[in-house]
Every structure is written in C-alpha cells, then in structure tokens.
C-alpha cells in the first residue's frame, strides 16, 4: 500500500518537474550527532547548466555532494535523477565526482591508474584506453602514461584528476574546488574544458568558496550556510535582487553634483561620483535631473554588487542569527 502511494507521488513529482531538470533535491536532511549538516535543502539543477554550490567552510556542501554521489544516504528527503529516484548502485556511472580531498596512488603508473579508475566507473578496458588516449592528447599529457603520480607536480596531478573525473562521459559532473592549486594557464585550460562539456550537454555542479570564479562560470547558484539554503537563483537575478540602487556618474565637473531629491551622494572618487537613488525615484529620473542641470555626463552606470559582497553579507547575517540563537 505504502509502496503504491509513494509511486503515485513519484509520478506527480515527475509531472511537476520541468522536462529539462536533471537533478532535483527534495527536502534533504542529514543530521550528525553534534550538528545538522544538511537541514531541509531543496533545489533543482537544469540539464546542461553550470551550477554553483557555494558556502563557507563547514556549511554542509561536502555532505550535500556526498549524498548526491551516493556516498551518504540522506536521513530524510529524496534525490531525483532524470525524474527517477536516485539509485546509487545503478546511477553511480552517470556521475563524475572530483572531491575536495582527492589523491592518487603514488606508486602506480598514471596510465594504469586512469585505466583502473575508469573501469571502476563501468567502462570496458578497450573503451577506457581509447578515451584516456583522447584526453591525454587533448591536454598534452601523452608523455605521462608510464610516469608515477609521485613524480607529478600538484597542478599536474590536478589535471589528471579532472581527466579521470570526466573520462566516462558522465551526465553529471561534480567538481569540488577544481581550480585549487592550478596556475592561471592550466586553470584556463580546465575552464575551457568545463564550458565544452556543458555545451555537449553535461551538467556541472561546481562547489567552491571562490566567488570570482562562480561569477564568471556559473549560470545558477545556491548558497548554503549552517546546513540551510539561504540563496537560490541565476547569477543575474541574484545581483538584481541584492542591488542597492547605486550608480556611478562620470563627469568632468565633479564639484557641481550635490545631494538632491532624486539621489544622495555615497562618495566621490577621481572624476566619479557614486550616488544612491532615493526611494520613489528611478535611474531615468536621476539622469533627467543631471541633464536638466547641465552636468557634463561622460558615463552613467548601475553598480551591481559582486557575488563576493552578497556572500559575505548573507553569511555574516546568518552567523549573527545563529549566534543570537545560541545565546538564548
């Protein structure tokens, strides 16, 4: 009876999901003895998107990723992959996971190691060999085959990790801090590969606390802190949501601009004035005011907050709430 009921809810869940959702987390919970690592988190990830999972250290990102990769089982909630309940033993080959704590067998030859890990993902030996050769050629690693991992630099082994993660052409690629330890050249190389994979239809979850990378790469982000989701949306939407109506006005008559009903000055810098639009007015009215007063305007821009600023602001406020609760 119960089984039948849950099947009905699954059908409903499937129907209500947009067709292009690859992964859907529904009310996931994971409690440890001392803390709520993941406390009722839900979000959807679209097929072919690059998704950013952000959060400070200890926010619950790794626990969340370990549930998505089937390493941990959620205490409560459900994970849907392609509209069906996630089944670790079957679906594991659809996922490529590059954990933050990653390493290789130091004494094993690189080629053999890549072959071994690819076969563990379910590839046949011939298939795996072919794909390793393709990737090694592509990332100029051909001469590495008979080397040992202990002979590689940190950046080089990072590159190898990436290849091993994407080798079996997983539908879902999870990269936890993929750029740590990479020089800018190699970071760009990997970044281009990530774009390429997304273009070919792979979905990428990108977990980090480096905001400038997220801003550049991700379409959609979720911010978690203290086990809870505190932000969910596209990068553009979130910036709009957190904008503070601050504009920069570039002019060669900086001293002529003063506070008025439409805006108030935040600060002046060189030949730029930063102003906050007062409530009840919009940017056009500000511009009209400036033109009417014959100010010589060179440039007029809206100043959107960086993700970094939003991140710090939100994390600090949730920490403050958490601290407040702890004090009670």
């Amino acid at each position: 009876m119960r089984h039948g009921f849950s099947r009905i809810t699954n059908i409903f869940a499937f129907k209500f999901l947009p067709m292009d959702t690859l992964l859907s987390l529904q009310h996931l919970k994971k409690y440890y003895a001392t803390q709520k690592a993941v406390d009722d988190i839900s979000f959807d990830i679209e097929k072919g998107s690059i998704f950013g999972l952000l959060g400070p250290n200890g926010a619950g990102k790794t626990t969340l990723l370990r549930m998505i990769t089937g390493i941990f089982y959620p205490d409560e909630g459900q994970i849907m992959l392609e509209g069906k309940p996630f089944n670790p033993s079957e679906d594991i080959s659809k996922i490529g996971y590059m954990p933050e704590e990653r390493g290789m067998y130091k004494k094993m030859k690189i080629g053999e190691q890549a072959l071994y890990l690819a076969q563990l993902k379910g590839l046949s030996k011939a298939d795996a060999t072919e794909k390793i050769i393709y990737w090694f050629k592509k990332l100029e690693m051909e001469s590495w085959w008979n080397k040992k991992v202990e002979d590689l630099s940190k950046g080089m082994s990072q590159k190898l990790q990436f290849v091993i993660t994407v080798l079996h052409e997983p539908k879902l690629i999870i990269l936890d801090e993929p750029f740590s330890g990479l020089d800018p050249l190699n970071a760009n190389l990997i970044k281009d590969e990530i774009y390429g994979l997304a273009k070919k239809g792979s979905t990428i979850i990108f977990s980090t606390h480096r905001m400038e990378q997220v801003e550049e790469i991700c379409d959609h982000i979720v911010l978690v802190n203290l086990g809870k989701k505190i932000l969910d949306g596209t990068v553009a939407d979130i910036k709009q949501q957190f904008k503070e109506n601050i504009f920069s006005i570039e002019t060669n008559q900086i001293d002529h601009i003063s506070d008025n009903p439409t805006f108030s000055i935040v600060r002046k810098e060189g030949n730029k004035v930063f102003v906050k639009i007062n409530d009840g007015y919009d940017s056009n009215q500000v511009l009209t005011h400036l033109i009417n007063n014959k100010h010589n305007i060179v440039a007029y821009n809206e100043l959107l907050p960086s993700l970094n600023e939003i991140f710090i602001k939100l994390v600090e406020s949730t920490h403050a709430t958490a601290r407040a609760f702890q004090n009670i």
């Binding site: 089937g70 390493i71 033993s89 590059m98 954990p99 704590e101 290789m104 067998y105 563990l120």
Partner: protein, 446 residues
C-alpha cells in the same frame, strides 16, 4: 561483482609485481634451508676447543672421559687450581674420592665459563662411570655391562594410532614439529598480511584517493577487494614456497653421492630392513638418517594437514585482516595512533601463539579444546592439534565446529569492520579510539 574483481586484481598485481615480494618469495626458502644447514654446520665445527686437566683419585673415571672433537681430557701430575692455566689448560676438573654412601660434589674451574651442553655431557660421562663402577663392584662383569649398554640402541618405542586394521605408525615428535611449524607460520603471516591490509587502507586514506574510489564503488566492496586481493598474495606466496622447498630438497637429494642414494632406495624398498645384520652394516649412518627422516615425514597425513592449513590460514587471515582494515581506516597521518589501536588485535594473536606452544605438547587439555574452537585462537591452536591426527586427537565434530565458528567469526568481523571502515575512511583530523569505533559499528551512520 565486476568492481570487486577489478579491485582484487589491482591489489594482487601491484603487490605480486613488486620487487620486494619476488625477493622475499624466492629468498625465504633459500634462507630457511641455509639456516638449517648453516646452524648444523656451525654446531658441528665452529665451536670452541677445551683442554681440561682432570684430577682423579679414583682411577676408574679415566676410561670414560674419552677425547671428543671439542674436548681433550688429560690427567697430568702436580696440577691444581693455581697453575692449570699457566700449564696450558682451559679448565680443571677436580674429582673427590667417590663413596657410594654419601653425596659428594666435584668441581670444574674454568678461565672462561663453560656452556650448559658441554657441562651436561661431562657430568653424564662421570655419572655413567660411577654407575658402571658401582655395578661392577656389585659383581657384574664388564662384558655384561657392555651388552646392556648396547641394548638401548636396539629397542625403540613405536607408537600406533589405534584405528583397527588400518593402524598407522604415529610419531609425537613429528606431530609436535608440524603443529609448531604451522602454528608459527600462521602467527607470522597474520601479522605480515594483517598489517599489509592496514597499511593499504591507510595509504588510500592518506593519499586521499579513498573518496575518489568510493564515489564509484561501495566502501565495503573496496575493503573486501583489498582483503581478498592481499589474501591471494599470501596464498600465492605459500604455494610458491611449497613448490620451491620440495624442488630444492629433491635437487639436494640428487646432489648426494650415488652410493648413498642407492642405499636410501634399498632401505625404502626393504622397509628399513636391509637383510638382517649384514644389511644394517651395509647401510651407512647417513643413509639410515635420511631414510629415517623420509620415513617419519611420510607418516603424517599431508593432504589433510595442507588442506586444513590453507583453510585456517585463510580463515584466520580473514578474521583478523578485517579488524586491521578497520584500524587502518580510522588512523590519520600519525602511525603512532595505529600502534595503540592495533594493541587489542595483536594481543589475542600473541596469546594464541603462546597457547599453541603449550598445545603442541598436550593436544587434549580443556584449554586446547576451547582455544581451538574460539576464532581468535583457533587458526593456530587447531593446527597444532590436527597435527596429532584426525579423528584420533581431534574428532570430526570438533573440527567441523571450529571451522564453522571461524567462518561465522570472520563474517562477523568483516561486517563490523565494514561499518567502522565506512565512517573512518572519510574522517580526517579526528583522533579515534575503539570506543568510538564500536559506536560507529553499532549505531546508524550515514
């Protein structure tokens, strides 16, 4: 299953291809055989030489103190404890006038103290001489005495296992030897392969490859694959050793002089009898010794012993290596932690070894029985008992019960360790003790 197979293959091939494995596998039999022959050679030749001055007021001792390769006895005049070393003697042996009515001591003084073996051989000679003297003074002639002494060389105890018609000659010395050797081998290999499993797990954890792999396979599969792979390495090593030792001994036999080989063959054909007294004379002492050794070795039920050995090696290995894997999974970079966590595992192994030493002499005590049933000690102790024969020393039901309990035991430790391993392998930077590990094992985790 395919994934466990891949893991087993990797664990096996990386170790078997390792140069250290090849070295140990091929050098060990050479080393053992070398040690046996070497020590035999050393004891026969390389020991010190003693020149002993004997002061004997009795007169009859002289005949019994014959010179040997190591000791020269001389009976000089005018010698005492003050001047023996200046006269070129290493020791002085001062005998009192023996009187059969009271106990007397005789004294040995040496520049360098004498080993126990040599002391015993001297006191045996003197005591025999006194015994002979007493018998002679009681009226027994020297010729009678000589024939009495020879008698002990003609009669020998032959014990038989009573199995009705198929009664077979048994040999307690051989049983003890086999029991001890197999117990010791299992003891050593539990340590070697157990710690190999532990270090393998630690390697995966400290290299940070564990999480990469368990995003492809279940932690339990990874642990099991490692245990089975390393167990297969151990089995390979044993089989290679058996092959190497048998080939080396047969090659060694082939190198013996031809007439010695012929004598041994004749002895084999005639069941140790070479046509009466004349035959005995024909067979040299060495041929007799080789024949005796072969004859004794053939007495044991080798298929049973080897079969049981492989079972108990594997059972004991699976039982303990799972626990070693659990320890490996909770250790961080610090090998010191591993030492203290290993203690509860190594203690029962060492205890079992001590029990085994007792059981090799006394296979049927209650201690021997219980220790051969409990899986912590059964791999070693049961092997010591099996050497005395099945079903004469160990009944079939005891063997079956012991095997069953061992299988149940390793299933349990594997299950237990699987739970600990699963949590430990992803846990960094936290110091863990057995109490926490048990909590992980018996409460729901992840």
């Amino acid at each position: 299953m395919r994934k466990i197979w891949l893991i087993i293959q990797r664990e096996y091939t990386t170790r078997v291809k390792n140069k250290r494995f090849l070295l140990i596998t091929f050098l060990m039999p050479l080393l053992i055989i070398g040690l046996i022959f070497g020590s035999a050679y050393l004891t026969s030749t390389g020991t010190e030489h003693r020149k002993i001055a004997v002061v004997d007021p009795n007169g009859f001792i002289k005949n019994s103190l014959k010179n040997t390769g190591q000791i020269d006895f001389e009976f000089p005049q005018n010698i005492d404890t003050s001047n023996y070393s200046s006269k070129g003697y290493t020791d002085i042996l001062i005998l009192p006038k023996f009187d059969s009515t009271q106990k007397t001591n005789y004294i040995l003084r040496s520049k360098k103290s004498m080993g126990l073996m040599m002391q015993n051989s001297i006191s045996d000679k003197i005591n025999n001489a006194i015994e002979d003297q007493m018998l002679q003074s009681a009226g027994i002639r020297q010729t009678v005495l000589d024939s009495i002494h020879k008698a002990s060389q003609y009669a020998e105890l032959k014990a038989y296992e009573d199995k009705g018609k198929a009664s077979k000659e048994s040999n307690a010395g051989l049983a003890m030897g086999i029991g001890y050797a197999s117990g010791f081998l299992i003891y050593i290999t539990l340590f070697i392969y157990g710690t190999m499993v532990m270090r393998g797990v630690m390697e995966e954890k400290t290299n940070r490859i564990a999480e990469v792999i368990i995003s492809s396979v279940k932690p339990f599969e990874l642990m099991l694959g490692k245990i089975i792979g390393i167990g297969a390495v151990g089995l390979t090593q044993f089989i290679l050793w058996i092959i190497l030792i048998t080939t080396l001994t047969s090659v060694g036999m082939g190198l013996l002089p031809a007439d010695l080989q012929n004598q041994v063959t004749t002895l084999q054909q005639t069941n140790g009898q070479m046509g009466g007294a004349a035959g005995m004379a024909q067979a040299s002492e060495s041929a007799m010794r080789i024949y005796d050794m072969q004859h004794t070795i053939a007495m044991a039920n080798w298929p049973l012993i080897i079969g049981c050995f492989i079972f108990y090696f594997l059972g004991g290995y699976l039982f303990y290596s799972a626990l070693f894997a659990a320890v490996g999974s909770v250790v961080n970079e610090d090998p010191q932690d591993a030492q203290s966590l290993m203690f509860p595992i190594t203690m029962p192994i060492i205890f079992s070894y001590l029990i085994t030493n007792m059981v090799t002499q006394n296979p049927n005590t209650p201690l021997a029985f219980w220790a051969s049933i409990i899986p912590f000690s059964s791999p070693m102790v049961m092997m010591a008992r099996i050497a005395y024969g099945v079903p004469s020393a160990v009944t079939y039901w005891e063997l079956a019960l012991s095997m069953f309990v061992l299988i149940a035991g390793f299933l349990f430790t594997t299950w237990l360790s699987g739970k600990i391993y699963r949590t430990g392998i992803l846990m960094y930077g936290k110091k863990v003790n057995w109490k926490t590990m048990m909590k992980w094992a018996f409460t729901k985790q992840f």
